[in-house]
């Protein structure tokens, strides 16, 4: 009997050890396999505009499991968009830097673009297939010089517990939205919807208008060319979007005066939402990324936590749109030191697992085809494919975006009428 027990114990130990040791090779086979000398010593610097990028720093740690002697660091550059070119020209230029598709349409960044490596080069073996095709933009030469690491969309944060408490359903269509807002107002919520309104950056007017304008352009390809050319004739195509802002205000869904109390377009938007008395907070995905960290910073939320989610704005009777555009993209400085290891890191990072992991930590929308959302983003996962619009695929340019942004802000803030704004298309600066 003792012998039998000993054999069982020994076998258990052996099996346990086998199980313990078996995971790493399996993961390595299916996942990332180092292609360079894992003992390589070097430094890789990623520069960007984020104050914090702990999600990326977590990836550094994971990469260090394969290359323990590679020192990776993230550096936030002040005045990023202006200084990036200078930094890239410096002696100690970064290996990887934040980039945006609008840079490709701006000759000011030609110098920056000149530093960008073609990431679609087969020699680099980057798995670009893991990224949703609508998020990948090819330049005129067919190159991919930016890889999105996060995706952005437009919508509203919804306090689900509040809706449940008030016995209401989250609206999915325009008429439901108007009705729900009316009900909420009657229940004492002065402004059932809120959003940042102090300036154009991330203001709620733009968040409302942009998806509708893009959708309109998507339905009218001839208008897209006019709009991209900043032809004033394209102004008419803004009208439905601009009118929708007015309708929101006029129907009492949103009170601009209440919105003006929100001091900035990020932290204060989140903290105001966390007060718990805002049923719907209009914002874009970048703002949602800050919610997790600020849950603990909000005394109100800490005292009375509630369930919330990010959902498309129901601006039509068919529901809302999922405007799927890149938020942050990475480019590789082809003139940097240790380019091989830099590409190795990119090869490591551009994978479904790592991009999803990073999006999860940052609470951003993952750019992968997997579309594995955080539960907060669940409503976007339920949107039908025909209502998903990719501005990059459509060919929306940055100047166009500026026009709708300024027009929406000014209409929403009462600085001009819809007609005036429509007439001014192409001349907003």
């Amino acid at each position: 009997m003792k012998k039998l027990i000993c054999i069982i114990l020994v076998m258990s130990v052996v099996l346990s050890l086998t199980a313990c040791g078996g995971k790493t090779p399996a993961e390595t086979e299916e996942g990332f396999v180092p292609a360079l000398d894992t003992g390589t010593e070097c430094s890789i610097t990623v520069v960007g505009s984020y104050d914090n990028f702990e999600a990326l720093e977590a990836e550094f740690d994971r990469f260090n499991e394969f290359y323990p002697n590679v020192q990776l660091s993230y550096v936030k550059l002040d005045d990023y968009n202006n200084i990036l070119g200078t930094v890239l020209e410096g002696d100690d230029s970064p290996n990887i830097f934040f980039s945006h598709t609008w840079m490709m349409d701006n000759e000011k960044y030609d110098q920056v673009l000149a530093h960008m490596e073609d990431l679609s080069d087969p020699a680099l073996r980057l798995n670009l297939d893991c990224v949703r095709p609508g998020l990948l933009k090819h330049d005129e030469e067919g190159r991919v010089i930016m890889v999105p690491v996060f995706s952005r969309s437009y919508g509203m944060l919804v306090n689900n517990d509040l809706f449940e408490k008030e016995g209401l359903s989250v609206p999915a269509t325009w008429s439901e939205l108007v009705t729900v807002c009316d009900e909420l107002r009657k229940k004492g919520y002065a402004s059932p919807m809120m959003g940042y309104s102090r300036d154009t950056s991330s203001c709620f007017m733009y968040t409302v208008a942009y998806p509708m304008f893009v959708a309109t352009l998507a339905d009218n390809p001839e208008a897209l060319a006019l709009a991209n050319d900043l032809d004033p004739k394209a102004g008419e195509y803004m009208r439905p979007a601009l009118e929708k802002i007015g309708q929101l205000i006029e129907s009492g869904c949103i009170d601009p005066a209440e919105c003006d109390k929100i001091e900035d377009n990020y932290t204060q938007v989140i903290l105001r939402f966390f007060e718990g008395d805002v049923p719907m907070m209009i914002c874009h995905g970048d703002t949602v990324s800050g919610t997790r960290k600020r849950e603990s910073q909000s005394e109100a939320f800490t005292a009375s936590p509630f369930n919330y989610s990010f959902t498309p704005l129901p601006l039509t009777e068919d529901g809302g749109y999922f405007i799927d555009s890149p938020s942050v993209e990475f480019s590789v400085n082809k003139d940097c030191n240790d380019l091989d290891m830099t590409n190795e890191f990119m090869r490591f990072l551009v994978s479904t697992a790592e991009l999803d992991e990073m999006a999860s930590v940052k609470r951003m929308i993952s750019p992968t085809v997997n579309l594995s959302f955080d539960p907060v983003y669940a409503p976007f996962g339920q949107i039908s494919s025909e209502r998903i619009i990719s501005p990059e695929v459509l060919g929306i340019t940055d100047p166009l975006t500026v026009q709708i942004k300024l027009a929406a802000f000014r209409v929403g803030s009462g600085e001009m009428t819809v007609d005036e704004a429509v007439a001014m298309y192409g001349s907003f600066e």
Binding site: N52, E54, D61, L77, D78, I83, G85, T86, Q111, S296
Partner: protein, 938 residues
């Protein structure tokens, strides 16, 4: 010894030692760690000093610039921005350092730089519009810092991470001619500050330096400390409550010290902190993973490792040694067990060997006592009985002690009559006391229940020991035996029997009390050397009492006497009181008389089996007056043969016999079916009295057992128990003088001492039987001795002479016996000369004596008053035919049976000689002669 008993304590001790070593090593490590941490904190203070000095120096240089500018303004020659930049270009030495002059009243926070924009050559304009580094400028100045420093930021002119030292200057606006306030910045690449800390490399390889403000925002950011805020970083990777978080913040900003945090990789890290001397509200942090810090510990794990290895080696060594010793001990134990077995065997043998002759001594002595009328002889005989009993007592003591020591002594509770116990005790001791002239008093509580349950034998043994000792050690005065009882309230079925023995003996000194219960120790050995005993009596008594849940108490006054007492719990079977025992005892004393048999049983028949003829003689003699018919057999086969033929009321079967011992014989008897002896009790006759024998005999199938030497009283008691009641009659009142009459001629034979013969054989009839057997075998024996001697077979000659010695002594031919003994001794030593010289003389005397005894046969016939039926010619013929057939088929058992059957009939005179010859042949085992006798050839 079980291995676990050795290994477990060893492992526990090793565990404790290792625990101590590890704890001590941990303590030393912790101590070392504390030293390292203290050094680390000291280093932080040093770094603080270096940084402070550096920052002060840089601030000082910035102040020199600003003072120069401001003094110019004060002197009425204010400098324009171009002048200032030009001045700074000249004043600064390091090309890495630049000066920025910013106009704070400009909405674009723009100004001019000493160096051109790296991406726009020739462009010296600079703007801090999108760089928020001036938020705390006023606050810091208000707090009286000697250094006005920005956080680390990206130099808008070259993109290099830098810090800037600042001071206000008065600048002439060339367009308006008025003075404007400008902010003069000495912009220093962060790398220069890091170079100042290069000395740390090698000392603390992975240390990282950070500067934070009160809110945790980094001014200078260590690379591993993620997030833009140290406190947020702490909160992200350390599970803390809000209170702990606040405490951590106040700890970091509260002074000099160190703390541990978890980093993003889950590693424990040491963070030492100190407020910057030069910058109020800014704090220096030094961060290092704990593993990198404690690598420098002084104590390594070699010590506990070496100790562990040493202890394990020691354990294995000890275990091996232990195993070796255990093996030796096992061997020794085996040898000891073998020795013990040998001792048991020796005791068994000794018991048998001593008890066998003791049987003869005491048994025959009993016959002397019964039958002798000569007072002298009776006196001598009494002495023999006393000495014999003493010797038996000594043997019994040794055997009992041996049994107790071996743990084989069991307490066997039976129902017993307390009066019977008293009788036995009193009978045993009273005589001894009387012989010594001591008064033997008894004081028995008449209310003691008559039938109790307990180990009667052991109780009797204990009291006997005490009483015997009392008598032994009392020269004059009295021995008083008292017995009383108490009821037990909680146990209505039991009583406490209270026994005490008081004497007026020599008493015991207090210092000797301890010796009393020690084996083989006798108190005052010299003084009591003449008193018999082994020194075991009290030890045995105490052991028995202990086994029965009691103990012996002694009160003694030296020179005055002692009182031994004990209390014993006994179950009560019958509450009838024993009555006035003293009266009964006194009456029995007055009626005491010489031995008479207790009963007669002439119709009862016994079979006694023993390989020693004398024992058979003693046995039959002891029961001669009971009239019991006794058949004897000298071996197992003979016994089985008789067992198959005749019915016996009781069978006594010797244990130790050659060829087939008693147990084997018993098994054979029990295995037989359809014999006349189904249900006949079979009692073991044994000289073995050592521990375990009783159980062995009962387990073997015997109904009871009796030890040799045979106690006549016990034998009679046993027969009364086992004989059918219908065959037992009261003892005859006939005078014992009406005994078997011996022929007169015997008393005139010179060679024979009749009294001696009688004493050996028990009674006259037995004597006569023995004499006839002597006579019948004499001729043959003499011839055999001559034949052996003629063939120079000294060994068998000696054996035969030995037999002649024994038989001659038994019949009282003492001189002949002595003669034979002398020649036996000569044979033993190989003295052929003596044998050659005297053997023929011995045999002549032997033959002469046989010739002189021949009239015994006539006497026997004459004395015969044969009432047996006369055998018919047909029956005799049939007997002869059967004898011939059985002899031919070597079925000698049947031959014996027929021969014995013939003995039940009177034989016609014409056949008497032939039948006698046949019976003699059978008695002498000369079966081969029988056919010849029948056929008339012999």
């Amino acid at each position: 010894m079980k291995r676990a008993l050795v290994i477990v304590p060893n492992l526990i001790i090793i565990g404790f030692i290792l625990l101590f070593v590890i704890r001590y090593a941990n303590f030393k490590v912790e101590e070392s760690k504390q030293i390292v941490i203290a050094e680390y904190e000291k280093m932080t203070v040093t770094v603080n000093q270096i940084i402070t000095n550096y920052l002060k120096d840089e601030q000082h240089l910035c102040d020199i610039w600003s003072n120069y500018v401001n003094r110019s303004a004060e002197a009425g020659t204010p400098m324009t921005a171009e002048d200032i930049v030009s001045y700074i270009r000249k004043a600064k030495i390091s090309p890495e350092i630049s000066g920025h002059l910013i106009f704070m009243d400009d909405p674009g926070l723009s100004g001019i730089s000493t160096t051109e924009n790296q991406s726009r050559p020739g462009d010296y304009s600079v703007s801090y519009k999108n760089i928020s580094i001036f938020d705390n400028l006023d606050r810091l100045s208000d707090e009286g810092s000697v250094v006005n420093l920005t956080r680390a930021y990206t130099n808008p002119m070259n993109g290099i991470q830098s810090i800037a030292f600042m001071n206000y200057v008065q600048v002439l606006d060339p367009d308006t001619g008025e003075l404007r306030t400008g902010l003069l910045m000495r912009v220093v690449p962060l790398s220069l500050l890091e170079q100042k800390l290069v000395f740390l490399k090698g000392e603390y390889e992975s240390v990282e330096i950070s500067l934070i403000d009160k809110d945790g925002n980094y001014i200078i950011h260590g690379k591993s400390l993620k997030n833009s805020n140290f406190f947020e970083y702490y909160k992200s990777y350390n599970t803390v409550t809000a209170e702990e978080y606040e405490h951590f913040k106040s700890e970091i900003t509260g002074g000099v010290g160190s703390t541990t945090i978890m980093n993003s990789k889950g590693q424990e890290c040491m963070v030492s902190y100190t407020p910057l001397d030069s910058l109020k509200g800014w704090y220096l942090l030094e961060y290092i993973p704990m593993d990198d810090l404690v690598e420098r510990r002084v104590v390594d794990w070699l010590l506990p490792g070496a100790v562990s290895a040493g202890l394990i080696i020691l354990l294995i060594f000890n275990f091996v040694i232990l195993m070796i010793y255990n093996r030796k001990l096992s061997e020794a134990a085996l040898e000891a067990n073998q020795a013990n077995d040998a001792k048991s065997y020796f005791l068994s043998t000794m018991s048998h060997d001593i008890r066998t002759p003791m049987n003869a001594i005491l048994g025959l002595n009993e016959m002397v006592l019964r039958e002798s009328h000569d007072d002298n002889i009776i006196g001598y005989s009494e002495s023999i009985r006393t000495a014999g009993n003493t010797l038996l007592g000594l043997i019994n003591d040794i055997l009992d002690f041996s049994k107790i020591e071996a743990g084989k002594m069991d307490i066997i509770n039976v129902d017993y009559s307390f009066v019977s116990v008293l009788n036995d005790l009193v009978n045993m001791v009273q005589k001894k006391a009387e012989d010594k002239g001591l008064a033997f008093n008894i004081d028995i509580d008449g209310e003691i229940p008559s039938i109790l349950n307990g180990d009667e034998i052991r109780i009797k043994q204990v009291i006997t020991n005490i009483l015997s000792n009392a008598v032994k050690y009392t020269k004059e005065g009295s021995v008083t035996f008292s017995a009383g009882y108490e009821k037990i309230p909680d146990r209505p079925d039991s009583i406490i029997l209270k026994i005490s023995v008081a004497d007026t003996g020599i008493g015991i000194k207090p210092e000797d009390m301890d010796k009393l219960f020690k084996a083989f120790e006798r108190i005052e050995e010299k003084r009591n050397r003449n008193i018999e005993g082994t020194g075991l009596g009290m030890t045995i008594a105490q052991s028995f009492l202990s086994m029965m849940g009691s103990h012996l108490q002694v009160e003694s006054t030296y020179g005055e006497g002692s009182v031994f007492s004990f209390d014993l719990v006994q179950k009560v079977v019958k509450w009838d009181p024993v009555g006035d025992y003293e009266d009964a005892f006194r009456q029995s004393l007055s009626e005491r008389h010489n031995y008479r048999e207790k009963f007669t049983a002439p119709h009862a028949r016994l079979l006694v089996v023993d390989d020693t003829p004398v024992n058979l003689t003693v046995f039959t003699s002891l029961l001669s007056r009971t009239g019991i018919q006794i058949d004897t057999a000298m071996d197992g086969d003979g016994a089985v043969s008789l067992f198959k033929q005749k019915h016996y009321d009781v069978i006594f079967l010797d244990h130790m016999m050659p060829d087939k011992d008693g147990i084997e014989t018993l098994a054979e008897m029990k295995g037989l079916k359809d014999t006349p002896n189904n249900g006949t009790p079979i009692i073991c006759l044994t000289a073995n009295a050592i521990s375990g024998m009783r159980e062995m005999f009962i387990n073997a199938g015997f109904d009871d057992y009796i030890t040799k030497p045979i106690d006549p009283d016990r034998l009679e008691v046993m027969l009364l128990q086992y004989l059918p009641k219908g065959k037992i009659a009261p003892a005859s009142a006939e005078d014992e003088n009406d005994d078997y009459a011996l022929p007169d001629f015997l008393f005139h034979l010179d060679e024979i001492d009749v009294n001696s013969g009688l004493s050996h054989c028990g009674n006259g009839k037995a004597y006569m039987t023995t004499l006839k057997m002597y006579l019948d075998t004499a001729g043959k024996n003499a011839d055999e001795i001559e034949r052996f001697w003629a063939s120079k077979d000294i060994r068998n000659t000696t054996i035969k002479v030995h037999a002649l010695k024994s038989t001659s002594r038994v019949i009282g031919a003492l001189e002949l016996g002595e003669y034979a003994a002398r020649l036996e001794k000569a044979g033993d030593v190989g003295d052929t000369e003596t044998l050659d010289r005297e053997l023929s003389d011995l045999l002549s005397r032997y033959r002469k004596l046989a010739e002189e005894l021949r009239p015994l046969n006539e006497h026997d016939e004459a004395e015969s008053d044969d009432k047996r039926p006369l055998i018919t010619a047909e029956e005799l013929s049939e007997a002869f035919r059967a004898l011939s057939e059985f002899c031919a088929s070597f079925d000698f058992d049947s031959v014996v049976h027929i021969a014995e059957s013939l003995g039940k009939y009177r034989i016609p005179e014409d056949e008497a000689t032939r039948v006698d010859a046949i019976i003699k042949a059978v008695d002498n085992f000369d079966y081969e002669l029988i056919p010849g006798i029948i056929d008339g050839e012999v």
